[in-house]
């Protein structure tokens, strides 16, 4: 197990190298002048273009420039993000926790509803419960996420006023920047509890709800499908018949026996979806004005903030490898037949 994890972690630098080199190569398609002009804020300084090119060595060959970027990246310096107005590393540190928080709440909702709907769908196959569950999941899947997000926003914020939009309330924004609020983890949900401030916790949770619900409805259809078909397969297996023949109550047959076996493929799917959420909550973060890493990535891309783009993709690559590793490890916890050696 340890050996397996170690070997998988050895892959990490390779993936990171590949991804970042590819991106770096693409940015080199821009001429040195174009890249240099990104550093210049005032049109009157255009004359100093040559100085900038000289200073940052923008005319050096690809490998030399990449080597330079890599060298400073390894030492923790990912450059300065023009779009976020702060060093890239600091931007990631600031925006990532909000997205991770959103992704965790979303994936918990997705797995919970996906498994629940999937099980009901399978157990009540071809009855109205099955049709309803499939209708809801496919309906959510078919709605574009920006339409869904706006609809939910209209309903829950505009009409009902139950849930607010945005990252957090102004009062929370002020409170978390006061010196007596300690940022232990960067995750506001956890930090607010550690600070003993339940008001902030509830505020953050309320702001999380709508974006999380939007993401959940948009992506739990696949989960329902996988769980349903996996459950149908398991329910037909011999051990389920044995469990019934032993006189176990029906809920134990369904959840303890068939359900636990059926959930194995769902774990892979949840792993993949979780990683995708980390890098792909851009639209939702924009609609709900949520201060996450997705919004940082998009802004960086729109403004040709090369350091920002490189930092963002580096982060996504690392998260991908770690996420996959994590779902592999999770497998062994559920399925005793899987052993992670060699």
């Amino acid at each position: 197990m340890i050996k397996y994890i170690f070997r998988r972690l050895l892959l990490l630098p390779l993936v990171v190298l590949g991804v970042t080199f590819l991106l770096f190569f693409l940015t080199q398609r821009l001429s040195p002048e174009m890249r240099a002009s990104l550093y210049i804020k005032d049109p009157r300084q255009m004359g100093s273009l040559e100085e900038v090119i000289e200073k940052y060595g923008l005319r050096d060959n690809l490998f030399k420039q990449y080597g330079r970027w890599l060298g400073s990246a390894v030492s923790g310096d990912l450059g300065y993000s023009q779009s976020a107005n702060m060093p890239v590393a600091q931007a990631i540190k600031e925006y990532l926790p909000a997205t991770v928080q959103l992704a965790i709440v979303t994936i918990v909702l997705v797995v919970f509803f996906g498994v629940w709907f999937g099980v009901v769908s399978a157990v009540k196959k071809d009855k109205w419960q099955d049709h309803l569950a499939r209708f809801i999941s496919v309906g959510g899947f078919s709605l574009p996420i920006f339409v869904l997000g706006l609809l939910l926003l209209m309903l829950f914020y505009g009409k009902l006023g139950w849930f607010p939009p945005g990252g957090y309330s102004l009062s929370t924004d002020v409170a978390i920047h006061l010196p007596n609020f300690h940022h232990y983890t960067g995750f506001l949900l956890i930090d607010s509890l550690l600070n003993g401030n339940i008001r902030i916790f509830i505020d953050v949770l309320r702001h999380l709800f709508l974006p999380a619900l939007t993401l959940c409805i948009g992506s739990f259809a696949l989960m329902v499908r996988v769980m349903r078909s996996s459950m149908l397969e398991e329910l037909n297996k011999d051990y389920v018949r044995t469990a019934r023949a032993k006189g176990l109550p029906e809920h134990a047959v369904i959840y303890r026996h068939a359900g636990k076996n059926a959930i194995i493929p769902v774990i892979t799917l949840a792993g993949i979806q979780f990683i995708r959420l980390l890098g792909g909550t851009v639209i939702v973060e924009t609609i709900f004005d949520y201060p996450g890493i997705g919004r940082f990535g998009v802004t960086a891309a729109q403004q040709l903030d090369i350091a920002g783009i490189m930092g963002f993709s580096l982060m996504v690559a690392v998260l991908f490898v770690l996420g996959n590793l994590f779902s592999d490890i999770l497998y062994t916890a559920v399925d005793p037949r899987i052993k992670l050696n060699d």
Partner: protein
């Protein structure tokens, strides 16, 4: 027929059908009485309805197959009319079952200890520890060495024979009145088969338990059964005491089955005799005796009309040849 005072399970005119438009019958009017402490073997080729009749007793038929008529009487109650909760209390507690394939009949991701104790706890109020102690005793009894340690292991860590032993331990953990064994040795290799049979027979005798033994293997039957019921095309063809059936088979089908057994004594046959043809596929429209197309002694009447099940001195047979003699 012997008096039914000793009867523990009584099946009356059981009908099982595939739930399609035609309601294809697979078990047609099967009746028998199982006596306390006795072993009844139900013998037949694949597709004759023997397994489905066994699954009907616990009402665990696969989806798409349903019981369309008859009664299964256990303890003055008709199992087919029992409400869900009473049925659950019966399953595994009063009537237990061992299945054909031990490789797939155990939950692959649950320790065998948990699978054993949950059975006990589903029917009896006792502490987890006591249930575990009981499970360990049972595992030892069915011949699993190192039982305490192996409680924490998963089915894939056991051999096929051991898994069937575990299945038997699971079936016996609540001292059921009746054990239904559905081809318990079919998936095992021959040397293990004998051991498993011996084990079932031993435990059955020790506990004075009744058993229904489903098999296609007549050689097995002679060792374990008190009574034998031959099933063909969903009909009971012949039923008699085991010794009687082997000594004086009346039905041509039974004779054919016995004739195709290898014997260690006597002359070596050129070729092992076999019954020509195949058993009828369920749903084949037919009048008359289902065995008639393969029967060497078939008469015109056999194709026209189903012979009745008649009985003489406890020996039941469904054949026109016997009707004539009677």
């Amino acid at each position: 027929m012997t008096a039914c005072s000793n009867a523990i399970l009584k099946i009356e005119n059981l009908q099982v059908s595939v739930a399609n438009a035609a309601q294809t019958p697979v078990v047609r009017g099967l009746s028998y009485t199982l006596e306390k402490g006795k072993v009844l073997a139900v013998v037949g080729e694949s597709g004759c309805g023997k397994s489905l009749h066994a699954l009907s007793i616990l009402r665990i038929l696969p989806p798409g197959v349903q019981i369309t008529g008859g009664h299964i009487i256990y303890g003055e109650k008709d199992i087919l009319q029992l409400p869900a909760e009473e049925l659950r209390q019966l399953r595994g507690h009063k009537i237990a079952m061992v299945f054909q394939d031990p490789m797939t009949s155990l939950n692959p991701i649950r320790t065998i200890g948990k699978q054993l104790t949950e059975t006990i706890l589903a029917h009896q109020k006792c502490s987890k520890l006591r249930a575990q102690a009981r499970a360990i005793r049972l595992l030892k009894k069915v011949g699993i060495p190192d039982a305490r340690k192996r409680m924490k292991e998963y089915p894939f860590q056991f051999s096929g024979g051991q898994r069937q032993r575990i299945m038997i331990a699971m079936a016996l953990c609540l001292n059921p009145d009746i054990l239904i064994a559905d081809e318990p040795t079919t998936a095992l290799d021959v040397t293990i088969q004998a051991q498993i049979l011996e084990l079932i027979k031993k435990l059955q005798m020790q506990r004075d338990m009744s058993a229904v033994f489903i098999t296609h293997n007549l050689a097995i039957v002679s060792n374990v059964a008190d009574e034998v019921l031959v099933l063909y095309g969903g009909y009971c063809m012949e039923k008699a005491r085991c010794s009687e059936l082997f000594a004086h088979p009346l039905h041509p089908y039974t004779k054919g089955l016995l004739g195709s057994l290898l014997s260690l004594s006597g002359e070596k046959p050129q070729r092992l005799p076999a019954i020509e043809g195949y058993p009828p596929a369920p749903g084949t429209p037919e009048k008359g005796c289902p065995f008639a197309p393969r029967c060497p002694q078939a008469m015109e009447k056999c194709f026209a009309q189903l012979p009745p099940l008649s009985e003489q001195a406890g020996h039941q047979v469904r054949c026109w040849l016997q009707e004539k003699n009677a």
